[in-house]
Symmetry: C2
Amino acid sequence: MKDFRLYAITGEQFHPGRDMITVMEEAILGGVDMIQLRDKKSAKREVLQKAVALRELTRKHNVTFIVNDHIDVALAVEADGIHLGQDDLPLLIARKIVGDMMIIGISTHSIEEARLAEQEGADYIGVGPVFATKSKEDVVSPVSTSYVREVAREIRIPFVAIGGIKLHNVDQVLEAGASRICAISEIVGSRDVRGTCESFVGKIERATKAGTL
Amino acid sequence: MKDFRLYAITGEQFHPGRDMITVMEEAILGGVDMIQLRDKKSAKREVLQKAVALRELTRKHNVTFIVNDHIDVALAVEADGIHLGQDDLPLLIARKIVGDMMIIGISTHSIEEARLAEQEGADYIGVGPVFATKSKEDVVSPVSTSYVREVAREIRIPFVAIGGIKLHNVDQVLEAGASRICAISEIVGSRDVRGTCESFVGKIERATKAGTL
């Protein structure tokens, strides 16, 4: 898979009155290079409509497009991949359905889940929630930056830190070894989506350079 | 597709304290020859577990097994088909994903929807809700037996009447031209699931014989 630095997940509840595609395009212009459509509530046909629009947007900007949970929608719009939580379809079953060409990302909340995802062939894992978050309704307790350190030490596939990450606390996460950051509300709920993303990218770049010196 | 007469849809809320597989096996022993797993609320992994159990049960009894909405789950357990409502993925998109071997059933609430489903290659359609029902939360107004008559006159693919059909009113539906009946609460909520199904089948057989005389 193409590597990424800043991963934005849709969250329409954080930008009432603003169109999702407009918000996501601002995020892309600010440096987001991977986008996930996450909608566990709408009817499938509505999810499909959103996916069609995001597929068009991400193609235009050459950004990776991932669909959360809905494998059928991902197949229908030829998304680049799917993202699965621990309550979604298991990785091995999903892999049989989507084949080897599609990216599969897995949410993990412990080093055991991370190891299993790596063994089973995940293309990347989510690592979190690092901090407390209200973006998801059913999340587990925050895992703190110590889980990020554990994964950075041991896991060889790409991982992205997620969960309550804001501009004011992202430095701790980067310092713990993350080089890819995922955010929902801090990005799409920002008054200046593009500027917020630019600030995230700046921090990621500085941390990554510092790490390689 | 293999033809069918009595189609039961799961509805666990109608049999609290009783196991779904037990209830569905009683229904099969009473004459149900097609079963649909309908679960729009549970996490996908839980839906998968139910689908695995129902796939095993229906294989054992050589009964057709359909999954509502979740195309990924249907593919994962090799269900015989999927059933799509008007808010689920459109038929033509679903067909691309599942191919020609899988049955696709479509819920229709008007003759226009029935014609479109037939044109687009549905294997069967649902026709209803004939009567008022509380089994679904988002149903449209009852279409009455006049819609059943319309479909019986015009549509050439198999159709199954659905929605509020009970032993006490099924004769009207059969009289209107239906030869396949679908029920949820009347079957799975019955104190005598097997006996209820046997009564349905008896009524369907008598009506079908009368119709061919």
